[in-house]
């Protein structure tokens, strides 16, 4: 295995590839700290998509003409690129969806609805995103299965003793976030997957906040399913990935039907095409697949180890600067390898929405609300929090601006 390259990023030249970061509102340059919601898109990714439309655009599959062959090749090769990036065995295990949420729904409907019944248990975590929580909640209601939630402890980590209690022989699937979009916690997803497998259950890992900023190897995790979104990793919106182990995907019935996913159709019945096309009916997101392919090239050129280390360093800096303020409450684990590149917090005496509006006066883009984790916020005892989340192009100076702007809120609300 090659040595981890942890050389600091050349943020100045990275920023040159993001014209949007130069935008000003009211004469102030944007400070973009809303990366857990969506990341900005570098020029090479935008160029790859516009080149595709200018030069290669056609519908894919079974086209006999040159352009269709080229578009088909680009679309199919994007699957190979993703497979290589996340350690999957091949394109058969990589299904393009529109986002992480669709990946959750695909498994919930195609597998859950058929396999679950009364007495079966679905184990989630208290820090699940609504993408998984709401989806499994509905599938459980329809099938009569039970849902249990692995507790989050006071430090914002999963209570693994509780996980060992909950995951039993009745458990059919364990679905967990790899990195929490609210607490920043990096969960022990390998251990959770092992626990699931010890009881013949499957594991579904939501990697929406993990794949963008750390090396991820689905084979090393041994996850049965793993989902993520293109737009949180310097890629375009409208494309996500569901990884699934080939034998499982082969057994599963399709979730959406239509053209492009069939082998043979008569007026009476149809048979399904090969993986992954069986799960990609209709004209798919071809330009977005090309964009995702380019985003992976772009990220790998920088190096996922370096990106992880850059984000950890920014998260540490933000955590320490905010914690030093004394009137700031921060949620989630202390900085370190168990925290991803985001910090959710509240300023004493100021509602998160008011604070975020005031930060917007300084053209600082952060997010306020429940971050699609309402039950977790209920548990934290707050209605909302403000979240600053970082990516490759962010700097310490931007965090300094955020911390300095808190004074405005203090003065207004004093």
């Amino acid at each position: 295995m090659s040595q981890r390259n942890l050389e600091p990023l050349d943020v100045a030249s990275i920023r040159e590839e993001f014209p949007i970061l130069q935008r000003e509102f009211d004469g102030q340059q944007v400070v973009y700290l809303d990366n857990a919601a969506t990341t900005q898109t570098p020029d090479p990714v935008v160029d790859a998509m516009s080149d595709y439309y200018r030069e290669s655009n056609a519908n894919i599959h079974r086209g006999i003409h040159h352009l269709s062959q080229e578009a088909s090749r680009l679309y199919e090769e994007a699957h190979d690129r993703v497979a290589e990036f996340i350690g999957a065995d091949g394109r058969e295990e990589v299904i393009f969806t529109k986002n992480t949420t669709e990946g959750e729904n695909l498994v919930a409907y195609a597998w859950g609805l058929n396999e679950l019944g009364p007495g079966d248990r679905v184990v989630l975590t208290e820090m699940e995103h609504h993408a998984s929580l709401v989806t499994w909640q509905q599938i459980a209601k329809q099938t009569g299965a039970d849902i249990e939630y692995i507790r989050v402890d006071a430090d914002g980590r999963l209570d693994m003793d509780h996980a060992r209690d909950l995951i039993d022989d009745d458990t059919a699937i364990v679905s967990a976030v790899h990195v929490s979009n609210t607490l920043g916690t990096v969960n022990p997803v390998s251990e959770l997957t092992d626990l699931a497998h010890e009881h013949d259950a499957l594991s579904f890992i939501d990697g929406a906040q993990a794949v963008p900023n750390r090396p991820v190897d689905v084979a090393a995790i041994d996850a049965d399913f793993y989902a993520f979104s293109g737009h949180k990793m310097a890629g375009p919106t409208g494309i996500g990935v569901l990884y699934g182990k080939q034998d499982l995907l082969e057994e599963m019935e399709p979730y959406l039907y239509g053209g492009g996913m069939i082998r043979k159709v008569t007026f009476e019945d149809s048979t399904w095409g090969d993986l992954p096309w069986k799960f990609e009916p209709g004209t798919p997101q071809i330009a977005e697949a090309v964009g995702l392919d380019a985003a992976i090239d772009w990220l790998e050129e920088i190096g996922m180890d370096r990106i992880e280390s850059h984000e950890q360093e920014l998260a540490r800096y933000a955590y320490e600067q905010l914690a030093a303020e004394g009137d700031v409450e921060i949620y989630g684990p202390e900085p370190g390898p168990e925290r991803g590149g985001l910090v959710s917090f509240n300023l004493e005496g100021v509602h998160a929405h008011d604070l975020t509006s005031i930060l917007n006066d300084h053209t600082i883009a952060v997010r306020a609300g429940d971050h699609c984790t309402q039950p977790l916020h209920d548990k934290l005892g707050v209605a909302a929090s403000t979240r600053a989340s970082f990516y490759v192009y962010n700097t310490r100076e931007e965090i300094d601006k955020l911390v300095a702007a808190l004074d405005d809120a203090r003065q207004l609300f004093a």
């Binding site: 009211d26 509602h351 998160a352 929405h353 509006s357 005031i358 917007n360 006066d361 707050v382 209605a383």
Partner: protein, 139 residues
């Protein structure tokens, strides 16, 4: 400065920090509650009518949430005195924004109109025109 800074003019902050008519009435003609689930804003409005059963004599509000939702509730509680239920029902979001006297950024409008919606729904329930337990404003 942008919309946001205008949003926190002195009048709004004053109503937020020193809310008028905060609390609950001893003998309200009707009471209603509402929430803005995304923000966690919650408002309870108590309204007491005069003997004509249509003129608002007294209003009190309670709850918590962001400055915009709470200041709007405080201002509305003052504004509604002497108005009829018909006049209350005729109010819309523009009236609330005029009352606040500031530009409200699009995402915060639902905070601003929460108290108005709660008062209107409360009145509609009292008059038998509506049947809901709680008002919610969604985005």
């Amino acid at each position: 400065m942008g919309l946001g800074s205008d949003m926190y003019r002195q009048q709004i902050l004053d109503h937020y920090k020193n809310p008028r008519n905060y609390g609950q009435l001893e003998d309200p003609t009707f009471t209603h509650i509402g929430e803005n689930p995304m923000c966690g804003d919650e408002i309870r409005m108590d309204v007491e009518l005069e003997n004509d059963e249509e003129t608002i004599e007294r209003v009190a509000f309670s709850g918590d949430g962001c400055a915009i939702s709470q200041a709007a509730a405080s201002m509305l509680s003052t504004e509604l005195r002497g108005k009829t239920l018909e006049e209350l029902q005729a109010m819309d979001r523009d009236d609330i924004i005029d009352m606040l006297g500031v530009d409200i950024s699009p995402m915060r409008v639902k905070c601003a109109v929460l108290a108005e919606k709660v008062a209107q729904d409360g009145a509609a329930i009292y008059q038998g025109d509506l049947d809901v337990e709680k008002t919610t404003t969604e985005d």
